[in-house]
Symmetry: C2
Amino acid sequence: MRVRLEDVARAAGVSPKTVSRVLNDEANVSDATRKRVRAAMEAMDYRPHPSARSLAGNRSFLVAMLYDNNDNPASTYLAEIQDGVLEACDAYRYSMMVRPLRMRSDDFIRRLDALISDHHPDGVVLTPPITDYAPLLKRLRERGVPYASVSPQSDGGIGVRMDEQAAARAIVEHLLGLGHRRIAHVVGIADHGASRWRLAGYREALAAAGVAEDPALVVQGAFTFGSGVTAARELFALKQRPTAVFAANDDMATGVMWAAGEYGLKVPHDLSVCGFDDTPLARQLWPALTTIRQPSRDMGRIAAQQLLAVLRGRGPGELVQVPFVLQIRGSTARVP
Amino acid sequence: MRVRLEDVARAAGVSPKTVSRVLNDEANVSDATRKRVRAAMEAMDYRPHPSARSLAGNRSFLVAMLYDNNDNPASTYLAEIQDGVLEACDAYRYSMMVRPLRMRSDDFIRRLDALISDHHPDGVVLTPPITDYAPLLKRLRERGVPYASVSPQSDGGIGVRMDEQAAARAIVEHLLGLGHRRIAHVVGIADHGASRWRLAGYREALAAAGVAEDPALVVQGAFTFGSGVTAARELFALKQRPTAVFAANDDMATGVMWAAGEYGLKVPHDLSVCGFDDTPLARQLWPALTTIRQPSRDMGRIAAQQLLAVLRGRGPGELVQVPFVLQIRGSTARVP
DNA sequence: AAGCAAATTGACAGCGCTGTCATCCCTGTC
DNA sequence: GACAGGGATGACAGCGCTGTCAATTTGCTT
């Protein structure tokens, strides 16, 4: 039969309540008692029953990770974040559940409510692009569910963020350093924070280098391979073609490379291409893609850690900044 | 305050136990009563408390999806399976948790035990390659935890499977139909079922077409991009090169295409290449990859459904076969 | 109309833990 | 040496549901 808290109490010669206190790291237990109880738990390989704990204690030890499966960013990205979140949850013996939610759909809030009512998560981790979906945040606050965000646009919350604008600026400066002056940018989905930051970084780099921005070189994309192809065709049809393209993510950059093939442009000889995200794809292309690496797994872990700090009453949590890595590979070269 | 089962009982004018029976679809409730209780539940938007249910009923309504994060197959593949599993679990109001487990590590079983002791899943879904890891299956049986598998090698269990051998045969027959006779095969990791089936399908197709197998054309890979490159270099160094390469998955096929670039071989003009899995990458390559599509999401869903059938006492569950799709794209062409 | 089995319903305890509040025991103080 | 104050500990009820078993009702037979 399973070992119960009561059994540990008997073995340690204390009351069940004291064992409970030790289990939950509560105050007002003498060091000697605490040690004795810990030893008994260890010896008996005691595992608290999560359902009993949550029923009596009115908390679930559950963290839900929410993601949008409508216009899904690369699934690899989410998988890495998920791994990181899981790692943090495991460390504190919380369990994690994942929830796809369609941001566009009008029963979004109803589904969110159902999630909360059905599973009672103690907190949630939000992933892009739903990190900044106002109705969601509002509802979470109304229902008193704490949350932490991965790459939120707005400040003020807790979670984790990379300085995407600085990263975008760095990659464009890399192109400028190779002598490029006609540098195009393929923008991502309009309301994604990522699109805004990356565009801002692009502009900042050009401005700092004293290169005037040509509006024809900034074209709209949608973070997909196909939109990259379309955008690139538009660019290649210009009288004065760009010599380099900075796409707001790797998938679109891949599309640009495809379109370059169609137009007989050799990458990087005739055209430099770079992306953002460092998906596995980026390494496998030929030539491999110059891009920005986000430490997604770390970011997931850190966001979850911040959330857990709040849930465990260990301070208010913060918005942590993590560094980016500029991955220079074969897809960028000196201007022809 | 939250609506409890007792409140529903009062509203419907029955005992709590009767509401419980309706909630759990148990027998021995008259239709009239059942209807009345259902109406009351609906009207009050009753949500059973999962912890109370599992504490009292000694089951968790939890399905764990296990995957190997050591030699991880494409994360996209797992993400799709995960989505499918989640869909099935949702339909029956089960919750799902995901668990990475390192198959090679020697504390594998300890971690499995910890998962079971800590979270008490009612059942687990196994994904390749851990679907056939004997110590795992043994331990699950010992602890009485039902499981369903995605693409298991052995028969006898429940879950879902695609006829990979037939699929491999079909893709090789496609190459034969294009006039190819020197068809190479890059094999996957030795102990994966996928490798065996795909190799068997390759041989079957050749034999059926009366083409003698050249052992030099069958080279070992490891399901990774890099191993595809290495294998292809080996093939291209042969006095008599193959005119087509069938790689056991898309990542390796991509590696083959990369290596072809190195050797100045044009795909598909000088060399036809095909893969297996239809990863997003396959569509984004240039030329796009001829490959086999597995309905991964459906497979996840079906495996979970079979497991849930068992958990809900709805029969023994079975091993379902799903159809494959041969995706013909630009990477294969008539023999030069 | 009586008698019986089967179907339906309910009373009650208890799953394993934690919140609340009472009790006990130690300090240090004057 | 008496007493306040605070830290350490425990008794007890109850979280929201289900298992067990007993009580009641129903439908059928003769």
